[in-house]
């Protein structure tokens, strides 16, 4: 059986993680092709319903990636996003999807290495978990 190829959505904020992903590209730093990036102005814009939409659309895992804790372009949008992600993880656990398929990461626009580590590590985790129960 061929290795399971997950579908991973990375919701990236425009000011930091999107730039970190750009920089990873510029530096030809490799990471799994399963990572698909959608842009938002700030992770504070991310409504839990967007994440649920992604799982409904067949995502095996969702990353929310924002600025460093004290470096949010919009002061504290990333902190608000983190609170929502933590609450949502509990709910995903309760409905049987598990709390490991959603994760929040923090990085500056200069931290391409952090972006690559985050998406690579998360992809490995999802490969181990297997396809989302919603896709089976």
């Amino acid at each position: 059986m061929a290795e399971f190829e997950p579908r991973i959505l990375a919701i990236c904020c425009w000011w930091c993680s999107y730039g970190a992903a750009d920089l990873a590209g510029t530096g030809k730093m490799e990471y799994p092709t399963s990572v698909r990036i959608v842009r938002v102005p700030c992770t504070g814009r991310v409504d839990p319903l967007h994440v649920l939409q992604a799982f409904q659309d067949g995502a095996d895992g969702v990353i929310v990636a924002g600025c460093l804790k004290d470096g949010c372009h919009y002061i504290d949008g990333n902190v608000k996003a983190e609170a929502r992600v933590l609450r949502l993880k509990e709910k995903l656990k309760a409905v049987g999807l598990g709390d490991e398929r959603l994760e929040m990461y923090f990085m500056s626009a200069a931290q391409s290495d952090r972006f690559v580590q985050a998406v690579t590590g998360f992809t490995e985790r999802i490969v181990k978990l297997g396809p989302s129960p919603l896709r089976r």
Binding site: R7, L9, Y18, G19, A21, D22, L23, A24, G25, T26, K28, M29, E30, Y31, T33, R36, I37, V38, R39, V40, P41, C42, G44, R45, V46, D47, L49, H50, Q53, A54, D57, G58, A59, D70, G71, H73, Y74, I75, D76, G77, K80, A81, R84
Partner: protein
């Protein structure tokens, strides 16, 4: 969607940058099958003039009302293509970019097949999103023709004078009772070696002027608030409301004739902080020979309220019953120029333990000809002139355990002082212990040669301890590789780090600005917007943004004044309406958005629904995610638009 969506997709080869690892033609063919796409083509370089021309032609030929360009990061060319489509008559926000270079062809350059599939996902996301894009208009708002300048040191005074020259009213707020800031305590300043008090705002148009004649206090456009702080700032670019709080000022500067009668009768004596504590002062005193305003001041912290001075004053300028005052001002722009402090190296290298271990700032006071020791470097322990001076560089700077950054100006300060001492007292021994000597400014390297010529010695090594010896002090210098050397000195001068001035954190909270990890105010971009901040209309200048010498400080102050003046001269700001909007019919009046907004850009109307102050909104969308009724939307990143991108990118190609 009232009109039929007609999307054109333009896939860029970017030479080989994309085409090498993505099958551009396969991607174009896939794009042409996506719903809503009526035209798809591929171009060698879509951003080139010929590529942009193709977009404009295709819009006309195929009656396109949405455009997707699949090429590099939108950080590079989103604005380029927005302009292109608007030249062809489309609203610039009916354009969407698919990042198939930075996010695809480059990181996956070894995996052509998979990269091609991923490029299809990315384009599908952009096409889906494009279907839901809406035209975005502009909003404009007036900018008041007055500025608030916070900090009355070199940067603040210079900015205030420039703004007044431009013809704008200025409110200048200074924490201390006198203007001048750190500059007053520098003695002579490099590289021209004039007195720092003469270095205050001048500019070519005014020629050189003394601080006491700088014109800040007499300029009819500048209103100065000394002993004051900005207690509150509300509003947004063009329309700020500031509350300025002034501590009680017990001596009326208008009535004080500086006769000194008050000082004679005052029974209190404390060290004078304006002279490095080298001389005593009374509780009522003249803080500086060049004090601006030129008036005695009364320090309430040391005053015993005996009332002797009140009796002695011949002009009845003193009253101990004065109250704090508050003023509310409305301004269009703000310049923050709150400067830096010298780090107090207590506990380091004998500072605070041995009186003859001082900092460069204290030495600057000594070397000031009008200062407490009349220009001579003396040992504070007995007042004798120092015969052997040792300086230690990089104290609490370039040290990850305290301040990791280079304080930048201490090398020049040390050399300036070493040179002054040798010029005045050639027999005095001066040694500078350093790790690196950094003199990158224009004409600054000359100081190094001057010092060598005058006999200043440079010792490479890190001073690790200063202890009391039989005669004077003994320094232990680490020479690297485990070797140490012991050196005697009778005056040790520490070149201590430059740190943000003490109220920086509080002011950052009041203004809503962010600080860097070093504690200084953060600029919007280190190269492209070094004077701007995260808040439109608020600018930073001088030492509050990081260690700087006077030349750089005045440069930046001029820049900040100019940035503020541009806004005020235009008289209004225009911005894209990529901002939050409320659907009043859905709003339940919970006010969650009001509390969540980091910019105070949402208010509740009298009818109990939320209202967005569009000029203050920065477009983060936090409110939209917090809204439990989905009544709040962020234009250009509406729920539908984000969901469409997610649907598109997760779809199997």
């Amino acid at each position: 969607m009232s009109e039929t969506v007609r999307i054109g997709v333009f896939v860029c080869h970017c030479g080989m940058n994309i085409a090498k690892s993505v099958d551009v033609r396969a991607v174009r063919e896939y794009a042409s099958t996506l719903p809503g796409v009526v035209w798809a083509e591929d171009n060698e370089f879509t951003c080139s003039e010929s590529g942009q021309k193709r977009i404009r032609e295709a819009i006309k030929e195929h009656n396109l009302n949405r455009v997707v360009v699949a090429s590099c990061s939108p950080k590079l060319h989103e604005l380029t293509f927005r302009r292109t489509v608007s030249e062809a008559g489309l609203n610039p926000f009916l354009f969407e970019m698919a990042n198939i270079r930075e996010h695809c062809s480059w990181p996956h350059y070894h995996q052509r097949e998979k990269a091609t599939e991923k490029a299809k996902h990315i384009i599908a996301a952009s096409v889906e999103r494009a279907r839901w894009l809406e035209p975005i208009g502009k909003v404009s708002s007036p900018v008041k023709a007055s500025a608030l300048v916070i900090g009355g040191g070199a940067a603040g005074m210079h900015a205030a004078l420039s703004l007044a020259d431009y013809g704008f009213d200025v409110h200048l707020v200074e924490r201390e009772p006198i203007l001048g800031g750190r500059m007053l305590q520098l003695g002579k300043v490099f590289p021209t070696e004039d007195c720092s008090t003469c270095m205050s705002p001048m500019g070519l148009r005014q020629h050189r002027r003394c601080l006491c004649n700088a014109g800040v206090l007499t300029n009819p456009r500048i209103r100065t608030y000394t002993s004051s702080r900005v207690k509150n700032l509300e509003g947004y670019i063009g329309n700020f409301k500031a509350t300025i709080q002034t501590r009680p000022v017990f001596v009326d500067a208008q009535q004080c004739i500086t006769c000194g009668e008050c000082e004679k009768v005052c029974p209190i004596e404390v060290p004078n902080q304006y002279e490095g504590g080298l001389r005593k002062r009374k509780a009522v005193f003249l803080p500086h020979l060049h004090a601006l305003p030129y008036s005695y001041i009364l320090d309430p912290d040391s005053c015993s309220k005996c009332g002797e001075c009140v009796e002695a004053c011949p002009t009845m300028a003193i009253s101990l019953a004065r109250e704090p005052a508050e003023a509310n001002v409305e301004v269009g722009t703000v310049v923050v120029a709150t400067g830096f402090d010298e780090y107090e190296p207590r506990g380091l290298l004998g500072y605070g333990e041995h009186p003859d271990v001082v900092t460069q700032q204290t030495l600057a006071s000594m070397l000031d000809p009008s200062g407490p020791t009349h220009g001579r470097a003396v040992r504070p322990s007995d007042g004798s002139v120092a015969k052997c001076v040792a300086m230690a560089q990089c104290v609490a700077s370039r040290d990850p355990k305290s301040h990791a950054y280079c304080s930048k100006i201490c090398c020049m300060i040390a050399l300036k002082h070493a040179k002054s001492i040798k010029e005045r007292e050639p027999d005095t021994d001066v040694t500078v212990f350093y790790k690196d000597i950094r003199l990158p400014g224009r004409n600054y390297e000359d100081y190094y040669y001057d010092c060598q010529r005058l006999g200043v010695r440079f010792g490479w090594g890190d001073v690790v301890s200063v202890t009391k010896a039989d005669r004077g002090l003994e320094l232990t210098v680490s020479k690297g590789g485990g070797g140490t050397e012991n050196v005697g000195a009778d005056l040790v001068v520490l070149s201590s780090a430059m740190v943000p001035s003490k109220d920086t954190e509080e002011l950052a909270r009041t203004l809503g600005l962010s600080l860097g990890s070093d504690g200084f105010f953060a600029e919007l971009h280190p190269k492209l917007a070094p004077i701007d901040t995260r808040l439109d209309g608020i600018f930073i200048a001088g030492g509050c943004q990081g260690p700087k010498d006077l030349a750089e400080t005045l440069n930046q102050a001029e820049g900040a004044a100019s940035r503020a003046a541009i806004l005020m001269a235009k008289g209004q700001v225009e911005m894209d309406l990529t901002k939050a909007a409320v659907d009043e019919s859905l709003c339940i009046g919970c006010a969650n958005c009001v509390y969540a907004c980091p910019y105070k850009a949402i208010e509740m109307t009298s009818s109990g629904v939320a209202r967005v102050i569009e000029v203050a909104c920065k477009g983060c969308g936090i409110c939209a995610a917090e809204c439990p009724a989905r009544a709040m939307e962020l234009r250009h990143f509406k729920d539908q638009q984000i969901d469409a991108a997610i649907d598109g990118i997760l779809r199997e190609a």
